[in-house]
């Protein structure tokens, strides 16, 4: 056991944890940030996507100790002052979710995608969603949500 410290959603956090604790369990069970989901736990589904130092990663495929000293952003860190992030707002307005289980990962992936590629067409969005699986929507409205969000953000990432 060792104390692992990092910044999560702008706040410095520390917790004692085993070296083998995956980042997703650290976030969910030690920090009680349960917005990050565990779907497949094998790096296929993307429900656990968070940002580490500004880049989307699968938190089921990284140990918490690897993120020591890093800046981590989870779905809980997107809304500011009670106002949804433009990507969250776009998912709400475009009916980009049904059951909602995959949504935190979809949104974290979308925010990262728009940061890297401000100009997105539907085909690019579909390719970029390679690592995120949704079992309800058929993706159509997820693609529309991301397309809409990219336009709203005007390439601001």
């Amino acid at each position: 056991m060792a104390v692992v410290s990092m910044t999560v959603n702008g706040k410095a956090v520390s917790a004692e944890t085993e070296d083998r604790t995956l980042l997703v369990y650290f976030l969910r069970e030690q920090l009680r940030l349960t917005g990050t989901h565990i779907g497949c736990d094998t790096s296929q589904c993307g429900a656990c996507v968070v940002h580490v130092n500004g880049k989307a990663v699968k938190s089921c495929s990284m140990f918490a100790v690897q993120a020591a000293g890093a800046e981590v952003t989870t779905i809980e860190g997107l809304a500011k002052d009670g106002k949804l992030h433009p990507v969250q707002e776009a998912f709400r307005e475009n009916h980009g979710l049904q059951c909602g289980f995959c949504t935190p990962g979809m949104i974290m992936t979308a925010v990262d995608m728009i940061r890297r590629k401000p100009k997105l067409d539907r085909e690019t969005i579909r390719h970029e969603l390679e690592g995120n699986i949704c079992r309800c929507t058929g993706y159509h409205n997820i693609v529309s949500s991301i397309e809409d969000a990219a336009k709203r953000m005007g390439g601001a990432g």
Binding site: E18, D19, R20, L22, D41, T42, S43, G46, V49, K55, A56, V57, K58, S61, M62, F63, V65, Q66, A68, T109, D112, M113, R116, E128, E130, G131, N132
Partner: protein, 266 residues
């Protein structure tokens, strides 16, 4: 899923990684971890120590000179896929990197990790062998023709650390991959390169280990066109056969992907 217990150590330099590796009972290097961590979660791997080399600055770089592109072992797939220098010198290499896994995997996975792991269906080994790259380690330089020795096995010795892959710049090159529709791993991926010293054709995904196709290389060295390899087949003997496709199917795919790669590079 929870792995077996292990001790985590973060190395700040190649020298420190060597020392930590030597001191460990059964240590393993951890770079991006996109294969190793999955294997540990399945409890297929049980290292006593993980030595994290992903943060070593001297292992993360892309240096393009006129005749070679040198990439540090801890450089991520994303950095290779989006590098303007790589795109200018060897566009087929940046394209290949952009096909690996998905964006989140490409943010973590590294070229050194992929090459050292030598997964039979990984993309990078096709580029390394197809371009005749040199694998540099903390001890020596290894020619790609001597590096990939079999399924998940390489010429690396105990305690040896891949530090750089150096790719000679080809005249033309192309990579064509037929991905498994679910995993996106290559069912067959063919890297074709036309270089000063001749044509090289390397195949991943179809066999237990990446391999070259001398009959295609000979035909393409005479005439570099898809027609030149019409009817040049690879034997199905020894190719992979599984629920995704038979050995005969993969042998056929190799021919189709090779022709598409040549058509693009010609």
């Amino acid at each position: 899923m929870i792995t077996y217990p292990f001790k985590y150590k973060r190395a700040g330099s190649i020298a420190e990684a060597e020392t930590l590796l030597k001191a460990a009972a059964d240590g393993k290097l951890l770079a991006g971890g996109q294969t190793l961590i999955a294997a540990m979660k399945m409890r297929l791997a049980n290292p006593s120590d993980l030595i994290d080399i992903s943060g070593i600055k001297e292992l993360s770089y892309i240096r393009a000179s006129g005749d070679a592109v040198a990439i540090g072992a801890a450089t991520t797939h994303c950095d290779v896929a989006t590098s303007a220098e790589v795109a200018r010198a060897i566009p087929a290499l940046s394209y290949l990197a952009s096909l690996i896994g998905d964006p989140a995997v490409r943010h973590r996975g590294t070229i050194g990790g992929s090459v050292a792991n030598n997964d039979p269906a990984a993309d990078y080994p096709a580029a390394v062998l197809g371009l005749g790259a040199t694998i540099k380690t903390n001890r020596r330089s290894i020619n790609s023709d001597d590096f990939f020795t079999g399924m998940f096995s390489t010429a690396l010795d105990e305690g040896e650390i891949v530090t750089e892959i150096s790719f000679p710049v080809p005249q033309k090159a192309s990579y064509k991959k037929f991905p498994n529709p679910a995993s996106r791993y290559a069912m067959a991926g063919v890297f074709v390169a036309r270089t000063k010293s001749g044509v090289r054709v390397a195949v991943t995904g179809a066999g237990p280990c990446v391999f070259r196709v001398p009959t295609m290389e000979a035909a393409l060295s005479k005439t570099f066109s898809p027609n030149a390899i019409e009817g040049v087949t690879v034997p199905a003997d020894g190719l992979n056969s599984d629920i995704h496709g038979s050995a005969e199917y993969r042998a056929h795919l190799v021919g189709v992907m090779a022709k598409r790669a040549v058509a693009e590079a010609a």
